[in-house]
């Protein structure tokens, strides 16, 4: 599939902002199954400084600073990209317990996998999370079976409820109430897997939404999406989308990954002044041809 991706974030301030330092992670990653053409980036007002670099997780990171007084900030990124199918998951003969053994240090992913087994800002391992996850992992069953079952259970047992949680709602609250949005489900499942000893990472990106039959596609009505990937001996990093109970496909476009949301927030910044702020985000995933 070829997509035209547009992501615009706009801040309107009640008072003048005199200085703002920002980091944007809005440039999609280049991957074997995801080919990105150079992005068009527009930042208004024009930044005094703009520096692009790769962050330690391999994401494209854009630092910029606005040093003249301003009352609004708009960052838009437009990228044309081609998305293909992921490699299919590989069933291996190990029991799930053995599958958690860390890859040898000679493996290029060795250090990244180790980092993704640990607690992070939004995801802390806990007994409650392990207890929730365990029924999916039957004795002698494979890890793949287990993670697929867990993915299905989160999809079925949790209610999608925008407005119930915020970016800061703790995981045990999500677990107790069985409610949340994609970000919560991704964090929750990462927490479950890490609590059982697996390495799991947070993936941020976009999902093409298909309008109901007969209705036109609404421009800008799409949103960012979040899912996760777990590391398994046979398959390597296997992506899972618990919000949809599915394995991500060509419609899942990857922006960035990290330990959790804190590592991959699309735009963050620190400003002086500004007063009240209003944030508007528009995302458009337009399929061009298949």
């Amino acid at each position: 599939m070829i997509y035209q991706l547009r992501h615009t974030t706009r801040y309107d301030y009640a008072a003048t902002v005199t200085l703002c330092h920002s980091e944007a992670r809005m440039l999609p990653r280049a991957l074997p199954w995801q080919h990105c053409e150079p992005s068009e980036i527009s930042i208004v007002p024009t930044p005094a400084t703009r520096v692009q670099r790769e962050d330690p997780f391999g994401n494209q990171l854009l630092y910029f600073s606005l040093e003249e007084p301003h009352v609004a900030l708009e960052v838009s990124v437009a990228t044309r990209l081609e998305s293909g199918p992921r490699p299919a998951p590989v069933e291996d003969r190990l029991g799930w317990r053995e599958s958690r053994i860390l890859p040898p240090l000679s493996d290029p992913e060795a250090l990244a996998v180790r980092m993704m087994t640990l607690d992070s800002a939004f995801v802390r391992r806990s007994r409650a999370l392990a207890d929730y996850a365990r029924p999916s992992f039957r004795e002698g069953g494979s890890a793949l079976e287990g993670v697929l079952d867990l993915n299905r259970r989160v999809f079925e047992e949790f209610t999608y409820d925008p407005g119930f949680t915020t970016v800061a709602t703790p995981l045990d609250e999500v677990l107790r109430s069985r409610r949340g949005v994609c970000q919560d489900f991704a964090h929750l499942m990462i927490g479950c897997l890490r609590s059982l000893g697996f390495a799991a990472r947070y993936v941020s990106g976009y999902l093409e939404t298909v309008p109901p039959p007969g209705e036109p596609r609404l421009i800008g009505a799409d949103a960012s999406h979040a899912w996760l990937a777990v590391h398994l001996p046979g398959s390597g990093w296997l992506e899972l989308d618990p919000t949809n109970g599915s394995l991500p496909s060509e419609q899942h476009l990857i922006n960035a990954w990290g330990r959790d949301y804190a590592d991959v927030a699309p735009l963050k910044g620190v400003m002086s002044g500004g007063g009240e702020q209003r944030l508007t985000v528009a995302v458009d995933v337009e399929p061009l041809e298949s």
Binding site: C20, R114, T117, D119, V181, C182, K268, V270, G274, Q277
Partner: protein
Amino acid sequence: MNQETITLTPMPSGVLSALLAGYRSVGGFDSLLGDDGELRPHWHALLENFARLGLDGISQRGLEAQRLLHENGVTFNGRALGSAARSWRVDPLPLVIDSHEWPLLEAGLAQRARLLDALLRDLYGEQRTLREGLIPAEALFQQGWWLPPCQHSFDTERAALFSLGVDLVRDSEGRWRVIADRVQSQAGSGYALENRIVLARSMPNLYRDAPLRRLAGALADEHRALVSLAPQHREHPNVVLLTAGPGSDGYLEHAYLASYLNLPLVESLDLVVRDQRVWMRTLGGLKPVDVILRRMSDVWCDPLELRADSVIGVAGLAQAARAGNVRLANPIGSCVLEHPVLEPYWQALCERLLGEPLLLEGPEGWWCGAPDALERTLDELPGLILRSFEPGAAPVHAARLDAQGLARLRQRIVAHPDEFVAQRPLAAASGPVFDAERQRLVPKPLSLRMFCSLDSSTADGSLEEVAYRVMPGGLAWVGEPGHPSVNSEVVKDVWVLADSPQPHVSQLRQASEPLLVTRDGIDLPSRVADSLFWLGRYGERLDNRARLLREALVRLLEQDQSSVADPSLDGLLEALELEPLEAQAEGEQRFGLIRARLLSLFSPDAPDGLTTLARAVHRNSQAVRDHLGDDAWRVLNNVGEEFERCTSASVGRRACERTVPELAAFFGLCNETMPHHYGWRLMDIGRFIERCQNTLALLRLALVDTEHNGAAAWEMVLATTDNFTAYRRRYRSELHPSAILDLLLFDEGNPRSVGYMLKRLRRQIDHLPQPSSAPYRSSEQRLVIRASTTLQLADVAALAGLPHSPSAREALSALLDALLDPLGELSEAVSNSHFAHVETPRQLLEMQVQP
């Protein structure tokens, strides 16, 4: 103690044996006595010299040292805002390290610094140590130690680590062992310096005669090394010391060090990042910063890339460092070197990274996540120390836990063995501490902190040349290994002996003279200028209040309790902004009410009370600690000390009586010793705006407001302004309003007159930095000219009918208003044009990712 008393003390040998009576090593190694129970040779000369002071002499020196420590207020300051007040005592006997053992220790510490530097570069670079399995990555990457934004942010061709503090003990065999490394905010070098100065002053002979290595050279070199860190080798780089502010632990030490090294002491709001450069906000505008000596934990340094909830960091700082436009000492990310998991691996790391054996070993220990380690840990648990990887967690001595605590610890380890390191406790060797009560030396376990910093001659060299210099001295404290220094009751200076007498440096400060580069002038951070201005205003307001309250209490005490008749008391209540008394209050009730109202000014809750004002004075003075002379600081430390104990009129009166000369001494010392730079001028402007306003308010009270008219009120004005004598000399005892007005309003020759004060304000304001492009007078200049001209053009004849003529009172009232208005505006104008009004930066909102 003078020379004569010294000769009267008993023979040193007698004192010496009294000092050593009952001293035994507590099993294992003792730094004073050898295995044979005899004094170690290097102690002989020093102890004899020590004994020459006599037992009482030593005790006295101990007290003297304590007093000096208290007055310097670095280690001790009950008023340090929010920071833990330390209450340790400095031992008059230093801990001595022999010239023979020093080279070994020195080499070990220098090696440790090189090792940490190499590891730091590796962990944020190639990560060979992780890929080769020397350190378990799954432990190292635990949150809060290895900081992802710092990956690849160091120049791989230069040393990354600048300085290091190492906590050491001698074990029971006398070998030096490393307990911890400090790289983020190494408290202690300032304390060590202070202890040295205090001991040198309280025991000059002991200090002078010992062949003692001096600290000044190491600190001068540290300064040179900091300068050499400057990117692009700027010729006069701006090196600053970044502190978390007066509310943080160690703030006074930061101020002390900044002042000693002659670096501007800055807080986050003094700095701003623009164009990937760090700038300091000064009176003269933004000034580039090249090197930051950091006394702030890594994770708080930059709210953009590190902890978003940090309000003490500087947004964009990490990017400025990454871009190579500023160097931080130590760089952000160094905190990983304090990770407990490294403890068991130093030996292997040293061999891998430096290709040499480790000279200073730590305690024996292991990572509990290693194969079979869990079992071993649980087997031996009660005899171990457990260090969790939770940042900030204190080591847990399993032996000190009760059964329940031990069970809980066991559970935590079983749940997450990979989050713990287990260590076998070390028994610290003992060393001598003077017990003032029993007047003899007693053996105590001692811990030390020593300091290394990049050798200035190699700071810029290639990696092969990198070397570290070890400060020949440090801080020792009484406590078992791992016992935090701040919790110790006794600290000791550490003396490193040389083979031959060292060049005599009588004043440490003089030794660093080559570094003293005058930095006064418009480089003054505008926050400092702001605090100095308010120090002036609050100090003057406190002075005025103390004078008025003293007057009121004196008058009250003179009254017969049953019939309080002095009408000026009502005026004083009004001048002190206290509620007037109800008319019906009479007799003793009246007395009691007045007394209660007056004493309420000592309550910490009274908004404009003396206690509140004294606190405002201290708050502002602490923010500018490095700009105040030591004497001025000492005097100021005492201001308001007894306010909260003032529960009776006579005690209150004495407290006020004391405050007036204390403040006069403080401002006098500032005038005499502070360089007359813009900061001093702003303090003076603050004082005189305040004093002018107070004088005008008093004149209105006594001469315009009819109720308080009369000789008693006039006398009160003269007494409050301390012009009673001046008046009497001119006019004998005849009181007349016109004469008072002349003395306190018009006479420019009288420093207490408004005329004089306006002249002084004008002179100070004319000297403030002005934007060079503006051809016109600044708004501050215009306001002070307006006030001066109003006074000079006043129609004195119209005031002739005072006190009885209503028209004369009206004319005076109009004149006082015309003087007060521009003064009120002046304060605001000064503040607007000279102080940066910086809002604490905030985070952009973040949006939840949906669906």
